[in-house]
């Protein structure tokens, strides 16, 4: 049963293997290897890692786009169904939503922003048109997009505006958890700053929990309460974001931190 202490997301010994290759020889790729973590309700947990670390695969398993080979994802203490039917999918969608990295490709190019948000509302709430439109207005306001943009097509918006539209749409089913897969990585720094601020505001006003997948440690510092460092599918280090970034316990975390360009940084060859 859901209790105030129950974690929004709990990953229990998650593993995922992919088969690659042709008919003759199949290679088994271990994308995620025994990953466990808890995302406390109302907080932000960052999954950090380089390419091949499995961070995106973990996010996709939490969002239900992949099913784990082993282990399970629990959403507010309820296990996520391995092969959900249409009804389960809707029920889970009320709890978990996903924002993708590429705002240019994650909206239907032929659908206006308002219609995209309204469609998500319609799937989950039996409201009349006026109620839906009022909600679209609120959501656009929440991500600080002007109301007139509801009639715009994705191609008429800038990258940052599109990403905020995606966030508004993801918030339409009133999810308790938002999975953000490199959601600010493709944005210019000035736009990224705005989106990060919007995300912080949304968290404060709705109490939503974020599972924040990123490769950018500065972004982790800005948005995350806790962090998990992944490497080659396995957890290297985890803990409060400030502690892990200031006093990393593991060699790999230190290398990762010291590779980030900042004051006093010079590029160095690895041994």
């Amino acid at each position: 049963m859901t209790t105030p202490e129950s974690p929004a997301v709990e990953a229990v010994h998650l593993s995922k293997t992919f088969l690659s290759g042709g008919w003759v020889r199949k290679d088994v790729v271990q994308a995620v290897d025994d990953v466990s973590f808890r995302l406390k309700a109302g907080t932000t947990l960052a999954l950090v890692g380089e390419s091949g670390s499995g961070k995106t695969t973990v996010a996709r398993m939490v969002a239900g786009l992949e099913s784990p080979t082993e282990g399970e994802v629990r959403i507010f203490d309820e296990p996520r169904a391995a092969r959900p039917g249409a009804k389960d999918r809707r029920a889970v969608a009320r709890k978990v939503q996903l924002v993708f990295q590429n705002p240019y490709r994650s909206l239907d190019p032929r659908q206006t922003i308002g219609s995209a948000i309204e469609e998500f509302i319609q799937v989950h709430f039996d409201w009349d048109r006026a109620q839906r439109e009022a909600r679209v207005k609120d959501l656009l306001e929440l991500v600080s997009l002007p109301h007139r943009m509801r009639t715009a097509l994705p191609s008429e918006l800038s990258g940052g505006q599109r990403q905020r539209a995606c966030i508004a749409r993801a918030l339409a089913p009133e999810p308790r958890i938002l999975v953000l897969d490199e959601a600010v990585a493709a944005l210019d720094v000035s736009v990224q700053a705005h989106v990060l601020n919007v995300l912080a505001d949304v968290r404060d006003s709705t109490g939503v929990s974020y599972l924040f997948v990123t490769h950018d440690l500065a972004v982790v510092r800005q948005i995350a309460d806790d962090v998990i460092v992944l490497r080659m599918g396995a957890v290297v280090e985890s803990g409060p974001a400030a502690r892990v970034l200031d006093e990393p316990q593991e060699q790999y975390t230190r290398i990762l931190r010291d590779s980030v360009p900042r004051d006093g940084w010079t590029p160095s060859r690895r041994a």
Binding site: E50, A218, R221, Q222, S259, P261, R262, T266, S268
Partner: protein, 281 residues
């Protein structure tokens, strides 16, 4: 500074019919031998178009105006043969996406020794061995094996090393790197940039590093040019940048809105374009 290796003056680039036709609106810069110049800017600032114009790789239907001179020669007036030679042996370019820059059905070795096609067997043998040596020099351990591989069999970092080896083997006087490490992991990025720095010191080549990451540019370059909407708004040194001595409001805003790895801001200072609106027209 009459001894500048490369001089760009009043460069303008228009694409008639595009929604934003003015791509470059008067770019002037000079590059000295052996120097590392950084160009930073956000998307749409024209930083990529500037280096592509230096290579005379302009979009179809675009109109170029202004001067580009390399070692005293007018690049825009070069014959096709001279331009080929200029691109091959004087100025090398490394792109953001090495996968897109390589022919997917060509082996790395064939790509590296492309220029020796049609030469004798013995000469090609020598070229092959040289290329293998170059791959070794950029830190690829199993170089002779990599020579026989196809691009899709290698990681992004490995391919970017191959690109660097290929450019460096022509011993160019200038290396243009356009977001060359953006697609790489931070640890690989550091590694590849260090390699580029070593090559630069050994060969005395000048380097132009294009990036959206001002911290990265500051860690590698001697001078930084900040671009905004087709213009260079400010030139500053890494020391000036660190000391908070940026003079232009756009540069100040760009520096202020970055999240920091060592500190959390209550709210990130979002750039307010009204501070520089009209200033850079």
């Amino acid at each position: 500074m009459s001894d500048a290796l490369l001089r760009v003056s009043g460069l303008r680039l228009r694409i008639p019919g595009a929604s934003e036709p003015e791509i470059l609106r008067g770019i002037s810069l000079s590059l000295n031998r052996g120097e590392a110049l950084g160009i930073v800017g956000e998307s749409g600032s024209g930083k990529s178009m500037t280096v592509r114009a230096i290579m005379m790789l302009n979009p179809d239907g675009s109109e170029l105006d202004g001067g580009i001179s390399y070692a005293g020669a007018d690049v825009r007036a070069m014959s096709p043969a001279a331009l080929r030679e200029y691109r091959r042996s004087q100025v090398g370019m490394i792109f953001q996406d090495p996968h897109a820059a390589l022919n997917p059905v060509q082996r790395i070795g064939d790509f590296m020794t492309e220029a020796t096609r049609g030469l004798s067997r013995a000469e090609r043998r020598v070229a092959w061995d040289n290329s293998t040596q170059w791959l070794n020099d950029v830190g690829i351990r199993n170089a002779s094996d990599v020579m026989r591989r196809f691009p899709h069999e290698l990681s992004g970092g490995m391919l970017q090393r191959v690109m660097i080896a290929s450019v460096a083997s022509n011993r160019p006087a200038i290396i243009l790197a356009d977001e060359a490490t953006t697609a790489l992991d931070v640890t690989t990025q550091s590694d590849v940039l260090a390699l580029l720095g070593e090559l630069q010191r050994e060969s005395g080549a000048a380097i132009v590093l294009i990036s959206h990451d001002i911290e990265l540019v500051a860690g590698v370059c001697d001078r930084i040019l900040v671009m905004y909407r087709g213009r260079i708004v400010e030139e500053l040194t890494p020391a000036e940048m660190r000391a908070g001595e940026a003079r232009e409001p756009y540069t100040q805003a760009l520096l202020a809105c970055r999240p920091s790895i060592s500190e959390r801001f209550p709210v990130l200072p979002v750039a307010d374009p009204s501070l520089w609106e009209g200033r850079y027209e």
